[in-house]
Symmetry: C4
């Protein structure tokens, strides 16, 4: 314990508020940030509605400035309060945080870059960081591990779907003329995927008898194929659930909290932990 | 048993007829009410068909009056026959019963309130009260408990779908111009959900090559994502079914009936019960 | 064995050919009938194509007459060869056979009854009778028993879907004006089911913002709801499969054949059976 | 070992490069071929886009020639390096390889045969041959065996869907007039399948009230029916997974590699194999 040079006290405090959700002020910060992010995303949406933007352009811009300033302050605070700022800057959330902050500044440098402004929608990804709710994350990680376990099967499946789409799409392009919208093979493949996945827009639809017959075959195939990913994931869930029950019997699960190590930012420490399980830094 | 002041006998009788389905008259009441509710909902539908309403307006109005009067009488009878009327009035079914009764009266006070009249469709919810069939309720509660057990997983799932929709919707808005119907980000998100869920109206459809490619990605994603809720619910059902079998072995299931306690309205008493399991009132 | 008065030998022979598929001639009869039924159904389809009918009307009519005569002869043969003809006449397949035979005769009595001629499509149902293939029937009966076991759950499910459709349909009718095609509540309910089941024609689609938001909710609901029947059926299949494995261990499955009792027409006798398991008649 | 007359050494070498992926040169050959196939398919697609073809016709044709020459050389190399060339020529992949090579040559003999050129899309099937990655193949074979095990059930299922489509299609043809697009029974059946599989293009949609009601029934049916293949496949996967776990306990799985026997081309030999398990030829 004595080996570690303690950070300045206010930095430690700041770290606790910004990176953790254990203390009241930490919780308040997270909720405030959550609301700010939601508002910032809604602003992006409202701005994209032409009527709305025309009428309330000034208000929207002002609010956007307010949010940008808040995000800028937050970004600086995050940089200061962490021990290894560069690690944060180039981490996934560091980049997201940066991209969430700069669009408005950039729009003054690169005039009229609407694309850039729309990038703000990625701010939504920031929400994942705040949702450190252990319970939900547990569920999510279960979902994730089920998907990971069936990764190879799903890859084979998607590969088969793609091959099928290309071959059926080419067939449909040969069978149907340009009249029904099958103007090229890529467009035909687009239609085949629209049909295989049972989306069925109807912007392109077969007109000839043979084309409609082939379409029917594709649909029934798609109907059967949809069973495969479902079967894979379900089998994984069932197995997973059984496994979980087993480990419950052995009692190897412990409660973890939302604290983040001030040194390496790793989360998921045990409730009774005094040191980071990753770098040994005192918590 | 002697501690309870018995209600007036006719009130007791009325309670049995209205709230229970054990006696012949109770069954008759339930079936009559069932038919009335169905008729009242069909009336609402027929009225909404302009041609039909123009021709048979008088008949429809008369029938509506007949049903309103019946519902009014029933509502009053329910109030009288129960021991704690206020508890009924503010219960879920009490409010539904009230809302089912008043629209016609209100339409004379607040002239031309079509919205109000359409509220009558909620009368359908009343059917749930009559369907006290224990067997069906058992199945429904099994469905319910399976859904409840996988609540957290489903929440994570819906959250991921929403985030995905917002991000993909924004991307599509950037990629596709106003020409193809992607006029704003909210509209784009609407389209993304239409596609992810494989509904695919086709009122909005991508026209550009990049847009169609992105749409293809969204569809295949949607195809894979549909596996997740299915997997969750199925795993829950399988586990549930096994559990049910286990409890059958231990023989802990007893038959319950549709009797409702005249004091506290709780249902689901054992066939051989003499007292309410909730408040101890004799049945 | 001596108690039974044997039928005339040729009748017995005829019964074996028509009702069973064990002998070579019985198999030949079944295959010939199968082809005739398929042809008869294809004729109905071709006739419905206006261009085709205009050009080949005479040929189609001639073929129809040939098939009708064959079906008439077959119907008479079935009547003669069975012991209790009336039981056959009023059985499910007896009625189907009769309806398959008469449309052409009736079209001369009741002039121009196109509906009647289309009834011929029900001839397809006759195929089920020929497909006495034990293996397929075993699979089908497994499917059937899985569906039967989850009947109550499916009923609850469909009930919930219907209630949901009526309520959401009414809401959409209130929210959307007549402009977007939501002209009446029944039409609105039709749209809601089109959306909930993820079919999504797009002939009716919400135009207003609130309508599109509601539609989004309905779609996500439909997405989740689709998991329920799948979960039910899958759980049933999994259990079923396990049960089948168990009974295999105990060795309680015997092979049955396609023979039908000449007295009571019951099928599914054991390969080594000498008497009908239903009426005791010698096979 | 001494019984086998060894092939010429360079032939052996060539065989190893072309048919196997164990050696560095074998791997390089496979990757190069993979890229060539992808390029050749993309060429087919680009050529089908009229604008693109008009502008870059010369480049596309040149590239097509380059690829055709490569494929021709490869085909000849395959013929030379294998011991029994005729067996290769008439094998599945032999035919695919041949069809992938000839379209350009044929287009000079049979002038203007666009259909023939589109056949080139089948080159994609060649990819399956290169993807000798054992892991993926293991997954694919698991998928395959799950599908094979439920083959009979799926056949019954598809049969029921087809019968249902014909009967419902005929009903819709009778109910709906020509106005809504139900111009013939086959078109009506096409629509029914579009609806049952929840694709729902909307190019044909019921207009009459009765038609819309029937459509609703078909949709709910389709909604329920989609559960059946999913249930079948899932149950098979779950069982399969359990079986796999069992065999793991007994330790009967060994690692196989991508080597192909130079004599009989069988693949999937054990890592420690010295002789082909099929014909005994030394590897």
């Amino acid at each position: 314990m004595k080996d570690y040079k303690p950070q300045a006290k206010w930095k430690n405090k700041l770290h606790e508020v910004i990176y953790e959700a254990d203390t009241p002020s930490g919780k308040f910060f997270d909720i405030a940030l959550f609301i700010l992010i939601i508002i910032s995303v809604i602003l992006v949406m409202l701005e994209s509605i032409d009527d709305f933007d025309a009428r309330y352009h000034r208000t929207l811009l002002t609010l956007e400035w307010v949010i940008t300033i808040f995000f800028t302050l937050e970004y600086i605070a995050r940089l200061i309060s962490i021990k290894k700022p560069m690690k944060y800057v180039f981490s996934f959330y560091g980049i997201i945080d940066f991209l969430s902050t700069i669009p408005l500044y950039l729009s003054y440098i690169l005039a009229g870059s609407q694309v850039l402004l729309a990038v703000r929608a990625f701010r939504l990804l920031r929400i994942f960081r705040i949702l450190k709710l252990v319970k939900f994350m547990g569920e999510a990680s279960q979902l994730q591990s089920a998907l990971k376990a069936s990764r190879a099967k799903i890859a084979v499946f998607i590969y088969v779907v793609l091959i099928l789409s290309v071959i059926m799409g080419t067939l449909m392009y040969i069978v149907e003329g340009d009249d029904s919208g099958f103007t090229s093979i890529p467009k035909s493949i687009y239609w085949t995927i629209v049909t295989l996945t049972t989306v069925g827009y109807g912007d392109i639809a077969p007109q000839s008898n043979l084309g409609q017959f082939l379409a029917t075959v594709i649909m029934v195939l798609g109907y059967g194929i949809i069973a495969v990913p479902t079967g894979i994931v379900t089998a994984e869930f069932t197995r997973n659930g059984n496994k979980k029950n087993d480990s419950k019997d052995n009692g190897h699960l412990v409660h973890v909290n939302t604290q983040a190590c001030p040194n390496c930012s790793v989360e998921g420490h045990r409730d009774d932990a005094d040191h980071c399980y990753n770098c040994g830094h005192p918590l």
